[in-house]
Symmetry: C2
Subunit: 199 residues, 2 copies
């Protein structure tokens, strides 16, 4: 720590909780904000407070939004019979950047992880199942990550959703588009061959 | 931008002003803080506001401090006859980490830069010169950066300080300790040879 002050330590600790920020980066950020004109620090402080206060979870899909329902759920041109289930808001943003998916989403804000005490009720899975009740949903695409927890969550959900008579699918795993085979890891290659499609 | 919201845009812009933070990092930080429990965002917001409000410039040396004068200026065991002039608080921290310098500091918070309209009065150089008035200061070490502006500032200060009958020196420039000669750039090597010391 560069200045012996509990307040500065607290600031550095708060910066360190950000993704991709280590101790040195956090110190640089804190020092920058403490030595720059105070407006710059107060602007970040206020922008953060106001943005956080204005953002909530969509009551339908749990994506981050300022309006409720969120713009995606409110968009009548989208296919509301197709729900893509993801772990985090980041996944929605990534898929939306692709621009080809025209269905809607459901954000779990986590994955099943019994060791961490996260079961179906902690993930509020009943909110997802309720969306399947009126028969308007044709298909659910499971797009959880390929981690053990993500796979276990997909497996659990696939059974629960199938029981409700709704088609369920998993996003394809394989060699990334534009990537040479020599860059793909073994597990991805094995998955790509196993999941081959007929031409 | 991942959510169409002026508040989120403002937050991302505020993060981008931090050193070493580009657009993608700023988006990741904003998304993290907006999707994490709100306490985490408010903690950073509050820590920033409180730290910034508690930090001022030392009335003697202009270093960042919570107390006035700063702990370095208030330390009677330090050599108050030796002042090291630096551009930014970061330099004080770097030199203090070294642990061998026992004098005091003067932080300019900038350099002379006529093109940007920063002259001697904008840098409040009279505050530095006033410290030399009572004859207690023996020597001033100029530790501005080796940029054109830093060198010009050192040249200007060296003349002004010499006029006041105080010894003035410049920190040594040369090959970094522990670094092989093959990694030093030409200008550094030329300076290292020119500034050689007798053994």
């Amino acid at each position: 720590m560069f200045i012996e002050s509990p307040r500065v330590t607290r600031l550095i600790d708060a910066f360190r909780r950000l993704p991709g920020v280590g101790r040195r980066s956090a110190e640089r950020m804190a020092l920058h904000l403490l030595s720059a004109p105070e407006d710059i620090a107060y602007e970040l402080s206020d922008a953060l407070r106001e943005a956080r206060a204005s953002i909530r979870w969509c009551s339908v899909c749990s994506h981050l939004t300022e309006t409720d329902p969120c713009p995606i759920c409110a968009d009548e041109r989208r296919d509301h019979g197709l729900i893509c289930v993801v772990e985090q808001p980041f996944a929605v943003i990534a898929i939306e950047k692709g621009g080809s998916y025209k269905g809607v989403y459901h954000v779990l804000h986590g994955v099943l992880s019994p060791l961490d005490g996260i079961g179906p009720s902690e993930l509020k899975l009943d909110r997802l199942f309720r969306r399947l009740e009126d028969g308007a949903v044709r298909e659910v695409v499971l797009a959880t990550n390929t981690t053990p927890e993500g796979e276990a969550t997909a497996l659990f959900l696939s059974r629960q959703i199938a029981e409700r008579g709704v088609a369920v699918s998993r996003i394809a795993h394989g060699v990334p588009m534009g990537g040479g085979l020599e860059y793909a890891d073994e597990a991805t290659l094995a998955q790509a061959i196993q999941g081959r499609t007929k031409l």
